[in-house]
Symmetry: C2
Subunit: 555 residues, 2 copies
């Protein structure tokens, strides 16, 4: 199509062109921009019931082609009312999953260039750009040089679909590395029936470790890899971080049961409270000779993005030096849309040894000569999308400075929210150190009225400081805890039902709390302040209603 | 942004807007259309050497933001020269990975709505539309009703990233189903230490089966799931299909070794020759009581699309009735861009039992009440993109009739190419039944000149019919086979090096052959005829050169 033909097409009636004409791309462009600009007009959580969509659509695909003009209105009428608007600045649950214009451009080009680039030859630019931009990212995060593609240890990065996919990929590599290292040490020939027999005995004993705050994908990964898994208890008095001493006693325990720890997930930014595991003490334990065969994976899916700021990189990046693998999701907090989960390893051979399968249709002179990277051997699926494009576009469009500004700004919004919560110690207690744009808090037990409608007394005072180690000992203490949890949940549900803002709920060590994250690309002070107003107002209303309810009961 | 503001922005200087302005989306739209329209001007296989890109790009990301006008030229100058153009009508290797405008629109909307929709509540429209369009697809392919979402058996479809991901997902489900069914049958309490001990003994004995023509992802899936795998030999005399009798003897064999077959991949459209396994005889074996615990997965990644035609559906669809799972990649031959791998199961519970992990942050009233589908429990990764949109757009834009027309047309192109090959029995032999737009052929051994420059004599004639069961018995027969393979490979390499057309090479039962597939959305008669001309000319040149070389050697 020439430029002239394109211009003509733009003026032609859309109905005339049956197979979704180019003009539809222009209409869509406008629609996407308009969605973005009007996003705060939608309830952030959709007001629909399960099964809302089926009655609105036919039960079979149409037999005849439909014009785009017939399709597009359905997006506004049927799809958008059923979306949860992750891009809304009023979305403050989970961690963000942002999208930006350069990222959309990357998706569009990637689709236009569609290639399931399972090896280098299947689209060299796809592989080579991926290696380059992941090196850019590793440097931007100040990761140890061993994670770079040219490192002597054989390091490098690969884009995975999600942190969970990255984790199970590493677990499979870890499982194979562990059993083969053991067989090598025992002098068993490879391959040999003796080795296979030994592996069959070893595998059922393998156990993956993580803390009780590690994302659920570690437990799922262990199930997929067919190994055992144990989670190690953390405590709020240690900021929900995994510590060297608890790891050490768990290692002793599992070994005393005849099990063999082969893998551990360490976390920078846990799912519930964004805590950082205690790397100094963990690294001491994990560098003991008996533990060096344990694969160390660092899940920094969300908070890893903060390493783009020098103040975080200087303290956190060195902690990663011992890790076999490190993962950060640019699709959470670095302006690239889902999916862009960036996995770095210090030695690619561990992945390729576990995951490489040859077949005649994969053969080509460049791969056979070992000149190129075939990323299919670094991952579970065979085919791969050209995801490096969107990372390239975003890193260039924003520049490192733009990315740092964004992280700094959203952290400041988080600090502002935490300050608001702190300003009302009569109502709320903060349950873990607010950081990385996340605040975790709940209704302070002392803010609840007792059955007489009076403030409850906890620990001999009506306004105790939050004691993370507090473990209810008496039935009445237990009841106060349960009530604080229930009220906190009630407040969350009321707020979310309003559709004005979508906040989170989680629980750690028996304490239910509210999570507020202000970190998506559209986050702004005005929305964070409004969220606080809603939280405060709803809390006061719920507490007042309870007081009245109890007073009435007494009366 | 109002329509007026948008118009103004379109006229503003692009350089002024640092963060990739909306106008870039318009520029991109034109660029994408232009790429599509000019695709035949590019060499289909890029003329670059490994490592071509790194010297052209900086080693770190820029610190300051770059304008889109600075970024976009790099796509034409640095990326496109390194692309393998899967969308070119001259791309005839592997199987296609097509893209269409409505599919690009789907990707763009999906990016705009970015949500890692791991459960229903995280974006209800994402889950509900997926269920609906996969039902549309199942009906369009005439799959048995048990694969529909409302089936009494608990069936339904889910979009996976690739057929390989679908396979490993099913294998993990199969593994768990098998060991737990066995433990149940043995009366072991669940959970119990006895059951765990039994599972530890059972798992290393599990073996997955497939034919030697099954895609490599079955072997890889078995490695990931930590089970054994054995491939069953096929023969060209049986069209490279897996048969009931060879399966039966393999089952006897593995059981005699103390192993337990738990899973098998059956294929509709094998990777090398697009063969269909012999379902009637396989179904007889697999329905024997001793074999019903074996999970039957049908990999119809490519050829499954042909079931949209009634003539194929009537014969092939009923064969799938016994399968636990069935997979077709719309991103190959059904006009949706990669990734859109559609997996159907007869009972979702087998997936969710193996893959569901609970965590406090996933809890919501709809999921807790069992009212909704949480697709994260049907797959390995946690997060998921809104891929149903592009399927919806494509099925509506083309209509079933448009999709049928496309499959019919590309099959006709394939028949045309096969006819051309058949028209030169002096040069070529077809090594497997041409079907589904694929022709597999190689240089006929009798076309090779012997050391005196004369035609070689095989089987007592210079022009024998192709005998798929032919097994070279003598050294000279062996040598002719080896030469035919080498010449066939030489022809392929020469053609691909030209950059004019990209064809495939594979080998089955020791025979190397050329694969030509004419099935991407831009396929046209003119390109298929041109490909044939190139194949013919190159073959004649190679054979002539060999004759001359040998004559010279004699002279």
């Amino acid at each position: 199509m020439t430029a002239d033909e394109f211009r003509k097409a733009a003026h032609a009636a859309i109905e005339e062109s049956p197979f979704c004409p180019p003009i539809a791309l222009l209409m869509l462009t406008r629609a996407v921009i308009s969605y973005n600009d009007n996003i705060t007009n939608f309830p952030v959580l959709p007001k629909i019931e399960p099964g809302y969509l089926a009655p609105q659509l036919p039960t079979t695909a149409p037999d005849s082609p439909q014009a785009w003009s017939e399709i597009q209105p359905d997006i506004a009428e049927k799809i958008i009312p059923g979306l949860t608007h992750w891009q809304s600045p009023n979305f403050m649950n989970f961690y963000p999953a942002g999208v930006t214009y350069p990222s959309i451009l990357g998706e569009m080009y990637s689709a236009a260039f569609t290639a399931p680039a399972f090896n280098w030859l299947c689209s060299p630019a796809c592989t080579e750009l991926e290696t380059i931009v992941l090196d850019w990212l590793a440097k931007a995060l100040s990761l140890p040089a061993a994670f770079l593609s040219g490192s002597p240890s054989g390091g490098g990065g690969v884009i995975q679909g999600s942190a969970s996919e990255a984790i199970v990929t590493c677990m499979v590599a870890a499982r194979e590395r562990y059993v083969h290292a053991k067989c090598d040490a025992e002098g068993l020939a490879n391959p040999s029936p003796e080795r296979n027999a030994r592996i069959a005995i070893l595998r059922p004993k393998l156990i993956a470790l993580s803390s009780d705050q590690t994302h659920s994908s570690t437990a799922k990964g262990a199930a997929i890899a067919g190994t055992l898994h144990r989670s190690i208890k953390t405590s709020l008095s240690q900021d929900a971080a995994l510590t060297g001493s608890s790891l050490e006693s768990t290692l002793d325990q599992v070994r005393s049961e005849g099990l063999e720890p082969y893998y551990i997930t360490l976390t920078i930014g846990t799912t519930s409270t964004c805590s950082i595991d205690d790397f100094p003490s963990l690294n001491t334990i994990l560098s003991q000779p008996s533990n060096t065969q344990i694969w160390q994976h660092i899940d920094a899916a969300y908070a890893g993005s903060a390493l783009i700021l020098p103040e975080h990189a200087s303290t956190i990046s060195p902690m990663t030096a011992q890790a076999d693998s490190f993962n950060v999701n640019m699709h959470k907090w670095l302006l690239v849309n889902f999916d862009a989960s960036c996995l770095f390893v210090q030695n690619r051979n561990h992945l390729t040894r576990a995951l490489s399968i040859s077949a005649p249709y994969y053969q080509n002179s460049q791969s056979d000569a070992g000149l190129v990277t075939d990323y299919r051997d670094w991952q579970i699926p065979l085919g791969r999308r050209f995801r490096a494009l969107k990372i390239w576009f975003v890193m260039r469009s924003y520049g490192l400075q733009g990315m740092r500004d964004y992280i700094t700004y959203t952290c400041k919004l988080g600090d502002m929210f935490a300050e608001s919560v702190r300003s009302r110690p009569d109502l709320f207690e903060i349950i873990a150190k607010p950081q990385f744009a996340l605040t975790c808090f709940r209704v302070r037990p002392s803010a609840l009225s007792n059955s007489e409608g009076d403030p409850v007394v906890v620990d001999g005072t009506t306004d105790p400081a939050f004691d993370p180690a507090f473990d209810p000992a008496t039935a009445s203490e237990e009841q106060v805890e349960t009530e604080a949890n229930a009220v906190t949940k009630e407040i969350t549900d009321l707020i979310n039902a309003s559709g004005e803002v979508y906040i989170g709920n989680s629980s750690v060590a028996g304490k239910t709390f509210i999570r507020v994250v202000s970190a998506n690309p559209q986050a702004q002070e005005i929305y964070v302040r409004r969220c606080w107003d809603i939280v405060l107002k709803t809390t006061e209303e719920v507490l007042e209603k309870r007081r009245q309810g109890k007073s009435k009961k007494i009366a």
